[in-house]
């Protein structure tokens, strides 16, 4: 073989480098967004980069397209070259050990590192945030400490959202924790107080915020359910605008969440008392229900894409008031009315649409609001020993309740409603008994007869409520 | 001459084995050697002949497969002997990140010398090897010759009784070579024993009292330099320039009787000739010790020696028809 001298060899290498650069340039050349003209520079049109750049644009995969870029995360990944997967696995094992050994500070730090290594895996964000908000928080004994970890979990989700602008799941999970962990856990009374009125961390008081503005962006007195509703609405917006995929649940159910959160907000008035121990039921709660009914009906009117067994696609909606409307849809897609009904029924079962519809319509009425209020206040009076006043108020409330059940007979089998009515009856009967009046005489006879076989359950519930 | 043996080897052999213990190379075969106090002994041989192996066996860097070596009365593997020897390695294997002052200080410490003594010795040796000006420079910046010189200085740091020099003049310019040779002779004058390996035959010829020539791990030649190089049975005549007639006349005269000789001497061959002859001869008669003429007074190699003479005489000026 012919021996090449040094210069020739170098030229061959140079040639090789150039040849190899061509595909790299074609594939990897970065593009540039267009630049507007300023006083000192001329406008520059956008430049098309290589194939990879085009694909990155097509699928929105650029780091900055996905969300805010965290410099430390980028550095870490750069330093690790291709080993981030391995590093994440090792860190996850470590995190698990820290959690088992209750080394919370180290757990949190490891969590942060894992997130930094995998900033675009939304499952990682969710898993880690959930772990802190649910698993770690319950390990701590003091409610203040638990709240601290719930907030940590929420904040991780929020950060995940900032870095992954186009993932509806993360918005939804953020809202879900704000709604359910703060609003429905064992500690909901305290958590809601911390969220809305006063964070246990004194530093927020110093800032004159009172609450943690990072998770309650609207500040003091803003309800966690409304905050959650905003997050659900955001997730809906992202789902519509940027990324039509969410990995959580059936799309129709997913869409119901903003309205459901509004319902939760309205509902919480009924089970919560204000600082002075008074019921929060009143005009404000009725308005909340009013908004909830608007939201729910609006949700019911969103078209749902379905496929009939003919193979044809069509649109149905949850809010259907009459058989004529079914017929109309059936005619439109040339299918049996029965088929349409069947499909809609399935969606109704999925979302429990008819029940909530009845509920919101019932609750937004002033009569209903007053019924709740009078029953509640009657029971409070009973607790104070003012029996006669209590009986009068209870009777008034029960009458209104009766009207409500007459108008919305579906509610006669709904648990919460039944419980409220039955407990009211029981209290009323006790009062009458105490006052030496026949206990059998009371309104809501129909409800009583329907459910008196389950009396022990309601008696227990009554005792619980009366002891509070 | 003091005939006390400073180095003594008895059937010293070395076989290199590979990782699995299989025999690879027989580097040295039954070497018997004695170096006496106060002499300069040269170890010669072509590459791979076993002289470096011998040196390393003597220093205890290698362990003999068979036989034994004693230096200054103790086994070669004994560390105690190092107290009294100095070693100049082939390529001056020194620490290149030290400067010459630090180098000497370091090796001085290894001899457990106190600070004051180290300082004095270093000073003296730097002067001796003429590196006083370069004392603060790291060895990595040194030329080959300077490296040899600092190498020699470290070998002498402990004022040793026995000095082992591996290629002492390689890389030195003629002036440096001269200095080195003077130094070696000077060492002998101080009563030290010197063992040197070298390829530069003229140097060996100049300074060595005795030489040994090794080839393929075997000792081929051993003896005093002047005796090895002496040709018996030959007379050398040197005159001033003579006319042809005068030469004829002298021839005639010589044929008749002895008169008007300017010089009568035994002509010597050069060590180079001897070396080449030995090596060539060894190729012809492998496994046999080459007996040079000087040692063959009662041997049968007289013929062979005779054959050598014309070669030697042919080079002399006085050779004539």
């Amino acid at each position: 073989m012919k021996k090449l001298n040094s210069l020739q060899r170098k030229l061959v290498y140079l040639g090789g480098i150039i040849i190899l650069s061509i595909p790299i340039l074609l594939l990897g050349q970065p593009g540039r967004a267009s630049v507007e003209a300023t006083d000192t520079t001329q406008a520059r049109p956008a430049e098309r980069g290589g194939k990879l750049d085009a694909m990155r644009k097509q699928y929105d995969l650029g780091q900055s397209d996905l969300g805010a870029v965290d410099p430390s995360s980028a550095t870490m990944n750069l330093v690790l070259l291709g080993l981030r997967g391995v590093a994440t696995c090792i860190l996850q094992l470590e995190a698990q050990e820290h959690q088992d050994h209750k080394n919370w500070a180290e757990l949190e730090q490891t969590t942060e590192s894992i997130i930094k290594l995998q900033p675009h895996f939304h499952k990682v964000w969710h898993f880690k945030g959930w772990n802190l908000a649910y698993n770690v928080s319950q390990e701590w004994d003091a409610v203040e400490d638990r709240y601290f970890w719930v907030k940590k979990g929420i904040k991780i989700h929020q950060k995940g959202v900032r870095q992954n602008r186009k993932v509806p799941d993360l918005y939804w999970h953020t809202g879900n924790i704000i709604a359910k962990k703060i609003g429905r856990s064992d500690e909901w009374v305290q958590f809601r107080r911390f969220f809305m009125k006063k964070d246990p961390d004194p530093r927020f008081a110093e800032k004159n915020w009172e609450v943690d503005r990072e998770i309650n962006e609207r500040g003091k007195d803003y309800d966690n359910y409304l905050m959650a509703k905003e997050w659900f609405e955001e997730s809906m917006r992202v789902l519509k605008e940027d990324n039509p995929i969410q990995h959580i649940m059936a799309p129709t159910l997913f869409r119901s969440y903003p309205a459901r959160s509004q319902i939760d907000f309205a509902e919480v008035h009924g089970r919560e008392v204000d600082e002075n121990g008074n019921s929060r039921i009143g005009e404000q709660s009725r308005e909340a229900w009013d908004k909830a009914s608007d939201d729910w009906i609006a949700f019911g009117q969103v078209p749902i894409l379905v496929r009939f067994n003919s193979g044809e696609f069509g649109e149905v909606q949850l809010e259907i008031r009459s058989d004529d409307e079914y017929q109309e849809i059936a005619d439109k897609y040339e299918v049996d009315e029965g088929v349409v009904k069947d499909i809609v029924r399935r969606y109704h079962e999925l979302t429990n649409y008819p029940y909530w519809r009845t509920r919101v319509l019932a609750e937004r009425e002033e009569n209903t609001m007053l019924a709740h209020k009078e029953i509640f206040e009657g029971q409070e009076l009973y607790k104070k020993g003012e029996f006669e006043e209590a009986a009068a108020l209870l009777q008034k409330g029960m009458r209104r309740f009766e009207t409500l059940l007459d108008k919305y007979p579906q509610l006669i089998i709904e648990d919460l409603t039944v419980e409220e009515g039955m407990v009211a009856i029981l209290v009323y009967r006790y009062i009458r008994q105490t006052l030496g009046e026949p206990p059998e005489i009371h309104p809501l006879k129909k409800l009583w007869n329907e459910h008196k076989n389950r009396l022990p359950i309601f008696e227990k519930e009554m005792r619980r409520r009366m002891e509070q | 001459m003091n005939s006390e043996a400073v180095i003594e080897t008895r059937s010293l052999s070395k076989v290199y084995r590979d990782f699995w213990g299989r025999k690879k190379v027989r580097a040295l075969n039954s070497l018997n050697l004695e170096v006496h106090r106060g002499e300069i002994f040269g170890l010669l041989g072509p590459n791979g002949s076993g002289k470096t192996t011998t040196l390393k066996l003597l220093l205890g860097l290698l362990f003999p497969t068979e036989g034994s070596a004693e230096i200054l009365g103790s086994p070669a593997t004994d560390v105690v002997k190092n107290q009294r020897i100095g070693y100049l390695p082939e390529e001056s294997y020194l620490y290149r990140f030290l400067n010459s002052e630090e180098t000497l200080d370091f090796y001085g410490r290894l001899f457990n010398m106190p600070r004051k003594e180290r300082k004095e010795r270093s000073e003296k040796l730097l002067e001796l090897v003429k590196l006083t000006d370069a004392r603060k420079r790291q060895l990595r910046e040194y030329s080959k010759g300077m490296t040899r010189r600092i190498g020699l200085a470290q070998a002498l740091i402990n004022d040793p009784d026995l000095v082992l020099l591996d290629e002492p003049t390689s890389g030195l310019d003629p002036l440096g070579t001269r200095d080195m040779k003077d130094l070696i002779l000077n060492l002998r004058d101080q009563g030290k024993t010197v063992l040197m390996c070298s390829h530069v035959l003229s140097d060996v010829q100049d300074v060595c009292d005795r030489v040994a020539i090794l080839d393929s791990g075997e000792l081929k030649v051993l003896g005093r330099v002047e005796e090895l190089l002496k040709n018996q049975g030959v007379t050398q005549i040197r005159t001033s320039t003579l006319s042809d007639e005068a030469v004829a006349e002298i021839k005639a005269v010589v044929a008749k009787h002895n008169s008007e000789f300017l010089e009568v001497d035994h002509p010597t061959t050069t060590l180079e000739d001897l070396f080449l002859k030995t090596v060539r001869d060894a190729a012809d008669r492998p496994g046999q010790r080459y007996i040079p003429p000087s040692e063959s007074e009662q041997g049968q190699a007289q013929d062979a020696a005779d054959e050598e003479v014309p070669v030697a005489a042919g080079d002399s000026d006085s050779d004539s028809e």
């Binding site: 410099p71 430390s72 550095t75 870490m76 088992d100 050994h101 209750k102 080394n103 919370w104 500070a105 180290e106 949190e108 730090q109 942060e112 590192s113 930094k116 390990e139 701590w140 004994d141 003091a142 409610v143 400490d145 601290f148 064992d186 500690e187 305290q190 530093r203 | 290199y16 390393k56 220093l59 205890g60 860097l61 290698l62 362990f63 004994d78 560390v79 105690v80 190092n82 107290q83 020897i85 070693y87 390695p89 390529e91 294997y93 020194l94 620490y95 990140f97 030290l98 630090e102 370091f106 090796y107 410490r109 290894l110 001899f111 457990n112 470290q154 402990n158």
Partner: protein
Amino acid sequence: MTFNPIPFDVLAGLVNWAKVVGCVFAAVFVIAFLLQIASRGAQGPAFFFRQLVASVMDWLTMSPRRIWALTLLTFREASRRKVFTIGVIFIVLIMFAGWFLGDSTERPEMQVKRYVSFMLTTIGWLILPVVVILSCWGIPEDIKARSLHTVVTKPVKRNEVVLGRIFGFNLIGTVALLTMGVAGYAWMMRSLNEETRGSLTARVPVYGEISWLNKQGNEALQGDNVGDIWTFRSYIAGNTKARAIWDFTGIDEDSFRKNPQTGEPELHLESTFNVFRSFKGDLERGILARYTFVNDSRGLRVSVDPFEVQEFRAGANVMTIPRKITYGPDRSLSADILDDLADDGNLRIEVECLTTSQYLGAAQSDLFIRLPEQSFASSFGKAIFGIWMMMTTAIVLSVCLSCVVKGPVAMLAAGCIIVIGKSFWGFLAKVASGDVEGGGVIEGIIRIHRHITPNVEFQEDSRRQLVESIDKVPQLYVQVSRYLIPDLSQFNMTEYVANGFDIPFSAGLLPALATMLGFCIPWIFLGYLALKFRELESK
């Protein structure tokens, strides 16, 4: 806290060490002896014993000056090869560390925990690779460049070469470590704010021995298990006769601290109990616990006021008890803790949980008497000393390995041993004892292949016996080789410092010191033997 303050039993450790080291050296000598007989025949034994005597002489005639010369040489070599650029990496790391260490809205004690553990972990992991690489290449490079030839032809003994190298690398490591320690400390002080810095303390705890009573009031080995994965703590049920009892010894005047206002001596009792709620209970109130001082010989039982346990709140669960306790109805009775309640310096404290159906979790380290605090700097310094000991162990290991094999091989071997010793020693111990879920190698393979979970037992038959007996072989191997690998987690004292504790001598520093010496001494000797009986001109 995950540490158990068990004082190190020096004698038992020493006996154990002597056994293992004795076995190793006996094996080495027997093999060497047999080899000599095989190669030298009848002269073998004589040669062997001559060498043995020579080896002993080498150690008896070591010269500090020669060792120091080699130490200095090693140090110079490394520093001229610019190893101290490691400092630059460290500075860059801590410059950006703030990015990774999260926000300052954190609770102070958690922030401190993060910073301290980050700092100590970083220093530990940064120094190890550097010294391992350096020490693995030192001697092999020296042999390869033949500069060692020049050295060993001087009256230098091989043990001096080994020791000189070890000390040299150690000196480098020490300089680097000290610099990093000081810089790290300064950086922490600078980046933590005023309030948080207050959490940098070094509590000095006096630990006791723990024992248990069960619900019926009988002695028990431990408390209840509430289903926690981590079995470090066990639990006592509330409002029962269950107790966790601590016996403190050596209580004297010095165990008390002077009240800053009144000057009265008082006992500071700190706890780090966990709680477990079997039902929600009153969320706004913590679980109640109570201390009772017990002196059985005098029949005295003195309870102090109950307190709410503040779980995971470092430093919040401190109870100050005056030396003269008043108790009983209307506090009419009084007792002196030292004179009345302690029995010859032995103080017994019973802990009970007062909240019905809730549980209090405790481990030995969860109750302690607090002496006056040490400075944080001193405990940080001790943790750095722990890292120093780990570094020394790594250096000795690497240098000695490099006496036997070439640089890259030594590096791999040292790396493996260090990674195992640092991260997987516990796992190794588990494998050795056979406690690993899912059985041995073969059993594991079968389980994976057949999708059998570890909690399903294999059928009892001959095949199972076969599998188990094959699995015994690697297990046995691990059992033996485990003793040759140091448990480097002994040197990790981060947990003490990060949790604001002083590092105790007998439970923290002493075992680390013992581990270091226990491994280093035989290693050095083995390294020396390897270098002595090895031809430097290896071809």
